[in-house]
Subunit: 249 residues, 2 copies
């Protein structure tokens, strides 16, 4: 993990890095981190998209370190012909009001296959840093394409101890992964999501095996998750981190 620049805003330090060729950002709170959060961005976004940066600052203010990576074909990473093809086709279907769902699900599955090893490798490297040796694992926050990555990642990776998912509908490979998730999950659903059919979103929540899952549904479209819901997810993740991180000696 090769750190490049470092800047501080309101006590929160953000460091750009490259790990195995993947660019990312690590935000750290003023003191010792009480937990580490893997924060995955959505489709078409990147590691410093406004929502990702705001979420990272809120989590760092609550004591968490936050890491994000550019998804394959996103941000500062090269786009393959496949990335271009899906981006153009998905945008065209959304613009014309055609159902983009199946194509998004296809692209999401491709993305997850590429990104999961990158996140696991980044987690290895981060937990090896002196500042994080006290942490047993990490939480995860990613909605939409972030959940398409996060659900199979959380199913495969025992060090992910709690997760915020949502804004995504059931698809075969996702429900199979969801059925083996046993850690606490907060699931966000937008009641009037123009990209995710309501029954598909409910079905994905239903598929999660964990008994500690809560669905929070709010009116509005895909991008309209209310601020109070985001603030509440930060508190929830900070509480889960406190449950799993041993008290400092």
């Amino acid at each position: 993990m090769h750190f490049t620049t470092s800047t501080s805003v309101s006590g929160v330090t953000s460091r750009d890095f490259v790990h195995d060729g993947v660019p990312g950002v690590l935000w750290t709170p003023p003191g010792t981190a009480t937990g580490l959060l893997l924060s995955a961005h959505g489709g078409g976004q990147h590691k410093r998209a406004p929502g990702i940066t705001a979420r990272a600052h809120a989590c760092a203010q609550a004591g968490l370190a936050v890491v994000t990576l550019d998804a394959p074909g996103h941000g500062d990473r090269p786009r393959t012909p496949d990335d271009d093809h899906y981006a153009i086709e998905i945008r065209a279907r959304i613009t014309t009001g055609t159902d983009a769902g199946p194509l998004v699900a296809e692209y999401n599955a491709l993305q997850a296959a590429r990104a999961i090893p990158e996140w696991r490798s980044a987690l290895d490297a981060l937990l090896g840093l002196p500042e994080f040796t006290h942490l047993p694992g990490a939480g995860f926050w990613g909605v939409s394409m972030g959940s398409a990555l996060g659900i199979p990642l959380t199913a495969a990776e025992p060090r992910v101890a709690a997760a915020v998912f949502g804004l995504l509908g059931a698809a075969d490979h996702l429900t199979a992964a969801a059925a083996s998730i046993t850690v606490p999950v907060r699931f966000l659903l937008q009641w009037d999501d123009q990209l995710i059919a309501r029954p598909a979103g409910l079905a994905l929540f239903d598929a999660l095996a964990t008994p500690r899952k809560t669905l929070h549904a709010n009116p509005g479209g895909h991008g309209d998750v209310p601020a109070h819901e985001l603030a509440d997810a930060v508190r929830w993740l900070a509480d889960r981190a406190r449950e799993t991180t041993p008290a400092p000696r």
Copy 2:
């Protein structure tokens, strides 16, 4: 409003009263109340049922005064032949695994028609008490039969400023009332509710007109709302009361 006994536990005072022949309890916090909560019990319960008492204490610790009434045919109130008929039939259907839904909905509608004038009259009397003259209105918390009362009450009563509903499914008179509710609503749904079909619960949430509504769904049956959800509802109601109550002079 005729107060009879008064007891104090951990700074929370509870006073039994009778108002227009209806027995109730008023819990008040140690200092000036920051809000008033109308707390309606569920079917087969009463004004001092353990869940109602625990909820009242938690709300009072958060600064709210809480009032509850025995529902018609419940607690210390006489049962009509109709009350007995429905109680026996509903219990029999639940025991035999027959669908009790339509019968419960019928009884709930009857209950609401009887109880709404009682709650409005109690609200008149309470807001006239010297200790509550600073309050512009009240919040409402009632799930299951409590929501069957609370949804038409909130639709009809402009002084109800926020409400916790849930554990109830759509029925014609309820969805009509829900469609005229514009105050903030927290809606609790149990994902494996044995009494309320999941689509009916989701449909009732859907029918609420207010843009400030959030659905919280958790695994488990009708009686299994998790403790964290109840604690969160207390905080939410206390926050809503602070939004609507003028600061003390």
